[in-house]
């Protein structure tokens, strides 16, 4: 009986391991598919090369690198010391601008 229990334990661990692998693969593939672009589409696109390196360098000096999505008042309290860049959704009201909850 004891031997059988040990075998069941290993079987259970093995099954859990398989489930974990499937979970990781599933999410990785999902992420890859999310950003995958069909090469046939890309090869047939025109190019618009407007704007020069001068423009890019000018803007590089103006901007930071990362920002946070901050549509909650709670997020302001949590993140304002960690980042200087914030993205906020805005609705134009009759006399004011509406943003977060």
């Amino acid at each position: 009986m004891a031997v059988k229990n040990i075998k069941n334990k290993y079987l259970l661990l093995f099954l859990l391991f398989i489930i974990l692998i499937i979970y990781i693969l599933n999410h990785t593939l999902s992420a890859y598919n999310y950003i995958y672009n069909d090469k046939n589409v890309i090869s047939k696109l025109y190019e618009n090369k407007s704007y020069t390196n001068t423009y890019i360098l000018y803007n590089s000096e103006q901007d930071g690198k990362w920002l946070h999505h901050m549509n909650s008042v709670d997020n302001v309290n949590s993140f304002q010391s960690k980042s200087k860049l914030f993205e906020v959704d805005i609705l134009i009201g009759s006399n004011n601008l509406i943003c977060c909850s």
């Binding site: 999310y34 025109y46 803007n59 990362w66 999505h69 304002q80 943003c99």
Partner: protein
């Protein structure tokens, strides 16, 4: 959005606005209310902690190119003006010929408008790099938690490292 507060009230929550940057995604802007946006926003900035928040530190994101043009014409003579971002619209890449035609139309017509950035879901990264190699881009992603989210974040880091045009990336909460 439920239990919303005004932008003014939101900004007042910050201890210090000096040198902070904001990307305002304007959800309901159109040809009838864009001037109202600029008037109210100008007023908010003037009164924000003694004017610490400056226009050049604000990105206005707009999807409609014609509205974007109107906004640009309204702000282009300002000594410090808002930065403008064009929200690249959703395109179904499954319909190949249709999507190529739509994107190429944007490529051909983009020079008729002004925007500092193209804002896009990270899924269009390769397309936008091909179509607009010299434009600055704002990339972001939505959805996904744990592994999927970490994987996407890793891709964002990789893209940011290899491309100087990708200056700002949105790192969203796990939803």
């Amino acid at each position: 959005m439920q239990n919303n507060i005004t932008l003014n009230a939101y900004l007042s929550l910050f201890n210090n606005l000096d040198d902070r940057k904001f990307w305002f995604d304007i959800k309901n802007i159109d040809t009838s209310n864009y001037m109202s946006l600029l008037t109210v926003l100008d007023d908010i900035l003037k009164n924000s902690q003694n004017g610490l928040l400056t226009k050049s530190n604000i990105i206005l994101e707009i999807g409609d190119l014609n509205v974007l043009k109107l906004v640009y014409n309204a702000v282009k003579n300002d000594t410090t003006r808002y930065r403008l971002s064009w929200y690249f619209p959703y395109i179904n890449l499954d319909t190949e010929e249709n999507s190529i035609s739509i994107i190429n139309e944007y490529v051909n017509s983009a020079d008729g408008y002004f925007f500092d950035y193209i804002s896009s879901d990270i899924k269009y990264y390769n397309i936008l790099e091909k179509a607009f190699p010299n434009r600055k881009k704002l990339f972001w992603y939505t959805g996904g938690c744990v592994i999927e989210r970490k994987y996407k974040r890793m891709l964002l880091y990789l893209y940011a490292e290899k491309n100087k045009n990708t200056e700002i990336l949105l790192y969203p909460a796990c939803i």
